[in-house]
Symmetry: D2
Subunit: 479 residues, 4 copies
């Protein structure tokens, strides 16, 4: 194993950083193994924002001089500009984004750059960066969820009266409105929004000031920093502040549930675009062909999102495994929290975005959906319910209807083709009003319960969601 | 494969249930494979409570007669009594708890028993039972968490001033107060409580009335049922009501995070009771010996809890896998949700309970904890901070201190043994007040930041938690 | 927390077991938390077999007397009889199956019963029991896999020439033989068999003699015990023997992959039995109806197996989590390995068994499968390949065919309806022999590559598997 | 959402690829979502190797002309050179590595480049690339495992006679040889090697020739391709060839178990380098300091490896989730298999490599290890065994010894300090030879069982492993 270092790779910053009692430099292999800058450079904005708030407070509390603070702040802003313009001198010897920025700071302002780290540790700094990042990620994801909800609502409005077979066990069960089916997903995604919001509330506290683990002997003002970074308060216990990663796991768990919902919608889009179902046509711009089979039009986006569910589940399992059994406070294992965090956030966001766009291009085939109901038994429940209204106990009504269905299957007839004579073979209580139960549109209209698939209920749900989504859009435009 | 059925095993209920169009009885192997009664019989209370609320509403809405309703309600209460007294005739031919109860109901009241299932399906019934069960499970778990928090707070109060080494990377970092360390766990568990409460709020809606998936044509009153079962409202969309299992996954996720916290405390208790640490002695009543090594006193309860973390993580992964890619609405896969739900709930509850009890018997060795700090370098940070207060930039102060540590290691001396002369070899700014930084008790007292390990801050945290835990205890006693 | 003990619950055995230096009895709560007898009593056969081999060796090596050994062996056999007849006095105060059996042994033979545990520890005893159990579980599972393979092969033979659409992306791709499709599953399951066999080979070593962790000072003969228990040898390192659980994880992983395969077949059976596909009818005896929708015939067994995949994945994650980061040698966490082991084994076995039975009752609808190919574009690839054979580069051939498909879609025509005139609009190289490419049966027959879906290749595969499955059946009958 | 495309981003290749029946180009967002080139460009070597073998066979079978084949082969080799020199024109409009290479091929050789894809599909091509990649990854990982085993063996040889406390439950159990403890890990890792080898054997079959799913009508020679790519044969069923990902899951599972082993060793290295244990000092070049605590010397590499276990567990769960419930044959979800595959391979390899290097720099403190045994009760088992040899039943011997230990604890004495008089208070069978049981070196030497911690057995194990590792090194040098 080579230990010679080329100057470019030399981990200079680190040697300086803790070199006091170390006689040997970090091995190159070990440096490569332990550095995190490829992952955590995405935090540059959060890191600099945190440093600006920290240095401003250090000056306000007279821990460092105002003029030092101003020099540091100015340089930090320049550094942010450099990173954003792509001119920042990232070097292979830099261990992480914190060190890269601090090294550059020292190049710019000299030794006083070293004052920035007063009353701070990388342990609280990284917890800060993660919390700031997650606030942004959560807001982004909530925005994308709204996009999917809006696309679903749009389709629901277009198909407020379109009937389709409702399924259980992937067997046709009862006619439902397509709009009702789509609204079920809007409800699921709304719970996802709430879960992300709950997580946001729980993580929106500043860990800064915990230093390595025990707090600091400098007279810092943690609330001031928290306020300037728009936190709701400070993490109450300094050891907890640096050893906790709940916020990450809770976030990953919310992402996993959202992806589970998407995987269900994806499954349905794959089914519905099959030749057998033919319920939808996804726009050409969101499907792909085959390199070998010219007739193929594949629902790849839906399949990919369904597959990416695994990545987010894996990220959650990664984080849970990582934290299992770690003694307090910070352990280096925790550095490994960033790649699952980014994986969960990026994947969830990208899948939501593609679904919103894909749904907009998707055509639901009203006629085909309606036509499928002509020859099946989806209305059988209505016959059973009819019998119950004629005072036959439910279980008996069910059995009579079962016999009618069996009769149809044997005779290769549809329910809709049955005449009064046929029905009265099975029960004398049938009257001519039973026939309207067999018309899918009538069947859904007969539903009376709150939240049911009746057009009246569905319209009320549509109105409710329009209001919710409009108001949340306004929230956003005001933000 | 045998198809002969002994009378005892004959799945009679089912044959009746959907037999109308079926020509053959369910195969015995298939019956055994698909029945869930061994698992879901735990729901009997929830199932009967739901049926009572449902039948009361059916009568109120004149869907069934008052007298039928009364007969059914009376019989249901008798059935609950039979189950609780152990006299209920469970039979091997019963598929699930719903069917077992309904079959018994028919034995008691005859055909009118069949009216109970009017405007209801097993799909909404099972969702109801699970939600009712989880409300109870969440309240139980929150109660157990409070128990652990109370035991931790008790120890924190006993050791409000006990110093110990604080660790990062399992290396001694800085002196902290034992109480501060224990309070970090109270904070973690408090977030767990909040997560369970958020989940509770989200799940506390009645799914009843969704029927199979599309609602019902009977004029039911879903809100009435919801109110009588103490729900906050009804699930808004009937398809969502029967196809959603978010509440289970969110619950399992909250359990997994709680277990992660316990696994960390468990790890520390295992470490602390080792011969090498000797920080604690767990009571004999909560340790075990060895069948072969007579001197052993093993921290088995902590180890078992740490190991059981796997079971809860596994339950979460089970549920996420289960729901992935399922089309709407109900699919039979979802029957498999019960064993991970019970595993997560039972395991989490049992581990919390044992920890509360074990912690109470655990003795923390104040002298040993203090003594460990005599010969180490935990106070080095204080020297660095001292130098910063003398206006030396942090990074330089860090390097000077590193050299002092290296000097001590080479000379086999402790920091505490250093005299002014020694220190001034490294920097001329040292004055005699530096010496008090080297006393652990002084070191912690020097901390000034909010949430730090200073006795003042820790006392304030203790007071805060006493109030929180006392008030939640009162909530409970009023409930 | 109550500490009073009823005599029935008193954990007497344990108190005796390690009581020498313990002043207090194990707390009741702790006893309940730590006992494993409900789970590990399933090991009684393995435990007794191990003890018989051990005691026989102790006598042969003159570590205990022959007469003591005979008394112990006789009593152990009686105990096995008692357990099997249900007369064994299981008591609530027994911690695990090892202790229950040893306690009973002492009741039968007095103090000499204590000699059985010479040169042995529960640490090597439990590892032995698990390995013995897994050998049996693996053989059982392999037997069940053969059952599924045999059922699939049976169907493949019945449908050696039945054409169906082959799918990619759930879009129809090319005609394939149903038999070829089913044989793909036989191949998957064969890899499962091999994985289980590899795991078997790796675990079939005796851990006995490792004692607690370091071996024993008694002159035992580990090979003798290994041979008498039909092991291939002994675990080479005593610390490894008691701290390893690889064999469990490898087993759970093999189960997880098998379940993944089953979940794919289950998904297809659910799809195929939908109204939209109508490719199969599963026998009444393996489907269920609905409590509310009389027309339903649900593929519950397939759905349940698909859902149970989650349980096995969860068991694997459980075991991996459990073992993560445990220092050597035995830790009590490892007691928690049994429930995931049994879950994985039982679930996999039951799902395989039900699939073998269900497949036998499943009717594949030859006419429907054939008919679906009339109006689709599954044969498009054949046109492209035809063009390539006429020396048109593949990519261009693909594009020409794509245009033909687009033409058909626009004109609402099927590929099969195209005449030579139509085709020559797109390329002048078409000759009348192209038309046979459009007949599905011809299309599959045109395939020439090894392992392809041509009838010739498929017949050769069928013959191969017949031989493999026949010979493995013989292996079994000879065993 | 913008649909305008800059020329650079235009997914030209795809438009050409399946454009025949598509009227609209792939949406930019969808293109970005579905492209895989950032991940799969790592396959360029495998992809080109596969194409070379394929084109050579096409020519040999006269499916394309020899001269076309030579042009294609020449161009492919040039392309490989371009990629390796970094001059390959990767463009943002390229979807995956297959298309990027084919596009470049057409630039070089014109339309005949389109002939390469004759009798091939991306479905079998990607399966080929993955199998080729995994062969290399497995060989690399096995090499790294040998490196760790060699480093462990080196330390074991240096410490063939060093005694240390052996632990169970992290409580001291019995003296063992450090070498014996280290050899336990060599055994674990050897099983890992075998698992990787078994997986290799199972995956080393060529899928090429399966084409999209059903094989091809071109007279290809699959065996020829397989032989030229050093496969052991061909995948027998074409549908299986493109729909199977077992090999990936089996690989990820083997990686997960290896990481579990590393996590245990990592945990021990963290423990052993704590102030409390002080068993080892890891070289400065493999430890890091703290940015705030100058005295820290952290075992970061061990912690990071322990943390990275989560990544590999997550990758396994990702793959299992991904494949759950997918119908045959290829589904686009499967594209998501590459990132967990690379994560598992890269992480496992890097962790093994760092451990081999770190172990070499690690000093085990012989004196400290020995000294810890002076004042503990690790030798208690020997006393019990002594009593058994004097014909006292094991359980009674255990109890007597327990009382001796309790006596010592009460009197604050060590076992080693006991005189004959003390011992005879507890049993009259004690003779002076018991005293040597209390010397750790004697205690280990008393062990007689195969695979025990006796110096004789350990030396034999060391000799065994030296031979195994030497011969495997030779295998490598011959390869």
């Amino acid at each position: 194993m080579p230990t010679k270092k080329t100057s470019a790779q030399k981990p200079v910053a680190n040697a300086k950083l803790w070199g006091g009692r170390f006689k040997e430099e970090l091995n190159e292999l070990a440096f490569d193994f332990s550095k995190s800058i490829e992952t955590d450079r995405r935090f540059y904005r959060e890191d600099i924002a945190g440093s600006l708030a920290h240095v401003e407070m250090l000056a306000a509390e007279r821990i460092i001089s105002k003029s030092d603070a101003m020099k540091i702040a100015k340089a930090l802003k320049e550094i942010q500009g450099e990173i954003e313009r792509g001119t920042f001198p990232f070097q292979s010897g830099q261990e992480d984004i914190h060190m890269a920025i601090e090294q550059r700071l020292r190049e710019k302002v000299g030794a006083i750059g070293g004052k920035l780290h007063t009353a701070r540790s990388r342990n609280d700094q990284i917890a800060l960066d993660e919390r700031l990042y997650l606030r942004r990620a959560i807001n982004d994801i909530i925005g994308e969820i709204k996009g999917v909800q809006t696309a679903l609502l749009q389709k629901a409005k277009q198909h407020a009266d379109t009937v389709m077979p409702g399924y259980t066990h992937l067997q046709r069960a009862q006619p439902v409105l397509l709009s009702h089916h789509l609204l079920a997903y809007i409800s699921m995604f709304q719970r996802d929004v709430e879960r992300f919001q709950d997580g946001f509330r729980r993580l929106n506290l500043s860990p800064l000031g915990a230093a390595a683990l025990g707090g600091t002997s400098f007279p810092i003002d943690r609330e001031r920093v928290a306020t300037s970074l728009a936190f709701d308060g400070v993490v109450a216990n300094s050891i907890d502040a640096v050893s906790d990663r709940d916020y990450l796991i809770e976030f990953a768990s919310a992402c996993a549930i959202t992806m589970m919902h998407l995987s269900r919608l994806a499954e349905e889009m794959v089914l519905w675009s099959s030749t057998e179902f033919r319920f939808i046509t996804i726009g050409d711009a969101f499907t792909t062909g085959s390199s070998i089979m010219p007739q193929k039009k594949n629902p790849d986006m839906a399949e990919l999102a369904r597959g990416k569910t695994g990545k987010v589940y894996g990220a959650l399992m990664n984080l849970l495994t990582l934290m299992k059994g770690l003694p307090l406070a910070y352990n280096r294992d925790m550095q490994e929290d960033k790649s699952p965090m980014f994986d969960a956030a990026d994947t969830t966001k990208a899948c939501l975005k593609i679904f919103a766009a894909m749904l907009s291009t998707t055509e639901f085939h009203r006629d085909r959906l309606r036509e499928t109901l002509n020859n099946d038994f989806s209305c059988a429940t209505e016959i059973a319910d009819y019998l119950v209204r004629k005072n036959i106990p439910f279980r008996d009504a069910h059995e009579i209807t079962g016999k009618i269905v069996a009769f149809c299957i044997e005779k290769k007839r549809s329910l809709a083709s049955l005449a009064m004579d046929d029905l009265q073979l099975f029960s004398s209580v049938f009257r001519s009003d039973v026939l309207e139960c067999l018309v899918p549109e009538k069947s859904v209209a007969l539903k009376q319960s709150k939240g049911s698939t009746s057009p009246k209920e569905v319209k009320s749900q549509i109105a409710f969601w329009e209001k919710v989504l409009r108001s949340s859009a306004q929230d956003k435009s005001m933000a």
